[in-house]
Structures are given as structure tokens and as C-alpha cells.
Symmetry: C2
Subunit: 277 residues, 2 copies
């Protein structure tokens, strides 16, 4: 496994790989969720590259950029064991040189759901992901369904700008008790950690109601909100039942939907989702 820091080295190393190349972009502090993306990439690709970069431009000033968890040695060890071929660990100065001024904006999609609470988040995401795509020139890029809106936004960008690659979205990986894996779970104290299971429980309940024939978007939203409201440590920011592609909020009768949420436990903001139908 080759680990490089400079873009020029990355391009040199990348050029050595013939065949289908897969990319898994990450912010490091890897867990089983990330490793599942690597394994998914390996299924479809001859070679797999991973980027480890905590991208400052997708954090707003009040968010957790400086405290975001990092453990590069452990990350590299995990990636080595997964048989990753190439890892890029760039520094800020290289990705955002003096005078950096070019941004990619995927429009209306980015102002809904997460974007309503994190207004500059997706501009940072699309810009860094485009840069990673242009640095690695992958044939396939794998993202997690955990960040459901991010997956939709990136698929839109790839289509709109004609990136010559395929986006694969891999399922959410959960802890034994159902909590979606996230690097931010380490912020939770033991009480919050136990309480956080309510996210998955509420989504399961929505799934069951949908399986039982419930097709009213507002009823499904209410099911989730009610379960979250029963957990005193959970402070719900939003629960959404939205169109899976346009992300428009749905009301009345639905066929399919993305049910998603953001919930605070103390200062820790967790997200989770499920697609119905």
C-alpha cells in the first residue's frame, strides 16, 4: 500500500494502475462503515484508493472541525489490512492554496434537509469531492448511504458536470444495538450512547408501518417524531419524509421516501435515515 501526501506523487502512483480504479473518500478515524465502502469498492475494482482528509470547508465556524477525531496510524493499519492500494493524506495548504476561489454548487438540492441547518456544508462537500475525483480519476467512487443527502448531491454533480465515473452508494453499517456507525459516536457519553439507539428504533418503526401498508407521509413522520420525543436525551432538529431524488418534503400519499433525521445528544449531532420503497 502506497501512502502519499503530495498531489504530484498521487498522480504518479495513480498512473501505475491499469484496470478499474475505485475511490473511497473519507475524513479518517475509520470504522466498519468506512471499511464496508472499501470492501464494496474492491468487489468492482482492480485497485482501490482512499483519501483521508478532514475537509475544513464543509464545516461551519461553530462546528467541530478542530475537535474532529483523528488517528492516522490506526487508519493506515486498517486500510493496509483491507488490501487498499493507494492512500492520499493531503495537507490543507495543498488543497486550498492561497487565492483559492473556485466552488461547485449543486443548487437547490443542497439547501434542503442538512443544508437548511448547514448552509455552506454541501458547497464544501461538492468542491472537495470534485477535487478528489480529479486527483484520483477513479472509474468508480463509493459513498455511504449514512450521508443520504450527500450521496444524492454527489450523484447530481457527477451527472451535471459529466464526471466520467460511476457513483456507488453502499448501505449503512450499524453497531450491534442498531446505532449507525459514525466517527462522531466517540463524542457520546455512556448515557447518550444508550439513548442514541432511539434513531434506529424510530426508523425501524417507520419501516414496519410502511411494510404494514401505511403510505401517508405525515403519519410516517409523526411515528418517527413520537418515538424520538419519548427519549429525554434526544433533541430532534428535524425529521423528514422526502422524495429520494429531489429531496422535496412529501405530504399525503407516497410510493417511496427517504426518511431522515438529525438529532442532538448533548452537543453531538447524529444523523440517520432509511429509504422506504
Amino acid at each position: 500500500m502506497k501512502v502519499v501526501e503530495r498531489l504530484e506523487e498521487l498522480r504518479t502512483e495513480r498512473d501505475r494502475f491499469q484496470g478499474v480504479f475505485g475511490l473511497v473518500p473519507t475524513m479518517g478515524f475509520l470504522h466498519e462503515g468506512h471499511l464496508s465502502l472499501v470492501r464494496r469498492a474492491k468487489q468492482s475494482c482492480d485497485h482501490v484508493g482512499v483519501s483521508i482528509y478532514v475537509n475544513p470547508t464543509q464545516f461551519s465556524p461553530e462546528e467541530d472541525l478542530s475537535s474532529y477525531p483523528r488517528d492516522l496510524d490506526r487508519d493506515l493499519d486498517l486500510l493496509q489490512r483491507e488490501g487498499v492500494n493507494l492512500v492520499w493524506t493531503p495537507k490543507d495548504e495543498q488543497l486550498y492554496p492561497p487565492g483559492f476561489s473556485t466552488w461547485i454548487d449543486a443548487g437547490e438540492l443542497t439547501q434542503k434537509l442538512e443544508g437548511a441547518y448547514r448552509p455552506t456544508h454541501f458547497r464544501g462537500v461538492t468542491t472537495i469531492v470534485a477535487k478528489l475525483f480529479l486527483a484520483f480519476t477513479p472509474d468508480i467512487a463509493v459513498f455511504g448511504q449514512k450521508d443520504a443527502q450527500q450521496a444524492v448531491v454527489i450523484q447530481r454533480m457527477v451527472r451535471d458536470l459529466n464526471f466520467p465515473l460511476e457513483v456507488v452508494v453502499a448501505p449503512i453499517v450499524r453497531e450491534a444495538d442498531g446505532l449507525a456507525m459514525s466517527s462522531r459516536n466517540v463524542y457520546l457519553n455512556p448515557d447518550e450512547r444508550s439513548a442514541a439507539v432511539v434513531l434506529n428504533r424510530s426508523l425501524k418503526q417507520a419501516e414496519e408501518r410502511y411494510a404494514g401498508g401505511e403510505r401517508d407521509a405525515d403519519a410516517l413522520r409523526a411515528v418517527v417524531l413520537d418515538i424520538l420525543a419519548e427519549e429525554p436525551l434526544a433533541k430532534t432538529q428535524y425529521v423528514s419524509v422526502a422524495h429520494p431524488e429531489t429531496l422535496d418534503e412529501l405530504h399525503g400519499s407516497i410510493s417511496s421516501a427517504l426518511v431522515s433525521m438529525a438529532v442532538y445528544f448533548g452537543k453531538t449531532r447524529l444523523i440517520d435515515n432509511v429509504i422506504l420503497g
Copy 2:
């Protein structure tokens, strides 16, 4: 020479070319200026591709999109004679499908000079150029110095987003009397056509004054403005003496500068420029 309309065909044909591939993006109605870009590309490349597409998103509603001159048969004939390998003539529906919403913005640079008068122009330019880059995946892309700010903006985009290609900027090609070649010159009536030579004459005068030791930005700007003012058919929109990379307007003593202008002759807006130093 292969001429294709659909993106999928373009990718298939592009994949057949090994070696260094050059791209010359155009809006068609080709003249010697465009052909000089093709020749410049051929100097450095094994294969050359050209796009012919009048990009609607770089025109504002009051501009000349519908009347922009077109002559595809003649264009293809000219490109064939230059030994071009691959031509893409896409349709709007393919480049801007329903729901298109992703834009690239190169920031502050795009709000100066031309951008001050054409506020959405460069967003359209950077977005379509990025799409052309991702469609052709060229090693080298050639642009004309005629659109000086466009060249600066695209170089910034390429650097900021890590496009894996080199931008070459080729010199302005002029008619025998000095008028910079432009597809829009066909709009000029005979009187306007004669009068339009004043652009080059004013730039020549600035060059001479610079060669003679004049280093005061305001004095150089005044030289150009005075000469333009002597031509009754010329309605000057702006004359700028700016930093060649930041495009900041310069005052007082300079070392180098981009002297540029936009001038109306009737309804026809012409631009021209020279780099001093």
C-alpha cells in the same frame, strides 16, 4: 475526422486515442483565430479535439444568443483541413438535461472587468468548460488571449479544482488592419467595421508609451481612453489597466499590466486587450 453529437459516442471515440490529446473549445463560426488555436494544439499534441457549442448559459437574457452566427458545415470543413481528429457538436438537451443544477463559480475574479457588465457570464463559462474537460479528458486545452479574463478564470479553475491538464493561452490573431478576429465582427456595418480599428490603435499607443518608459497606470489608461474618444462610432464601456493575474485595477506605478476594454459599435460589443511587460 470523426464528428459526434452524443456524449457516449464522444467518450468511445476519445478512448481510441493514445498519446497526448489536445482540446480547443469553440462556439463555432470559426475564423483564423480559432484555427490558430487548433494549430497551437497540434504543435503539442498527438491528437486534437474541437467542441462546437454555443453555450446558452454564458449569455444573459439581453445578449445575442439567438442571433449568434452559426455555420456548422463550413466549420467542419475548416477543421477537417486542419487535420482535427475529433469534433463534438452536442445539443443543449444533452449538456443541460432537466433538473440541471450544478454550477462552478471561480469567485471574485469573475466579478471584475467583463464580469462587472456580464454578471452570470463566467459562471456559464467555467461550468461548460469543466463539462468539456470532463467529456474530452484532454491533456492540454488551448484558449485564446482574445478573451483575456476567460483565460485567467479558467487557469484559476484548473488550479483550484486540480484538473489534470495544462492550459495554453495562444496570442490574439488580427485582421490586416489590426482588428482582433471575432465571430461577432460580422455584426458590424462597413462604417463600424472601419471605426473598430480604433481598439487596436489605442492598445498600440499604450504599448508604445509603455516601451517609451511610461509606468503610470492612470496615464496609460488615459492614453487609451483619449484615442477611443476620438472615434465617434465607438462607445466605450470600460478601459482597464489591471494586474494580469488578480485582475485588480491598478493605479500609480506598475511593472506589468493587462490593458483591456469593451467598446460598442452600434449594438455590437467588441473586446480587445494587450499585456504590457
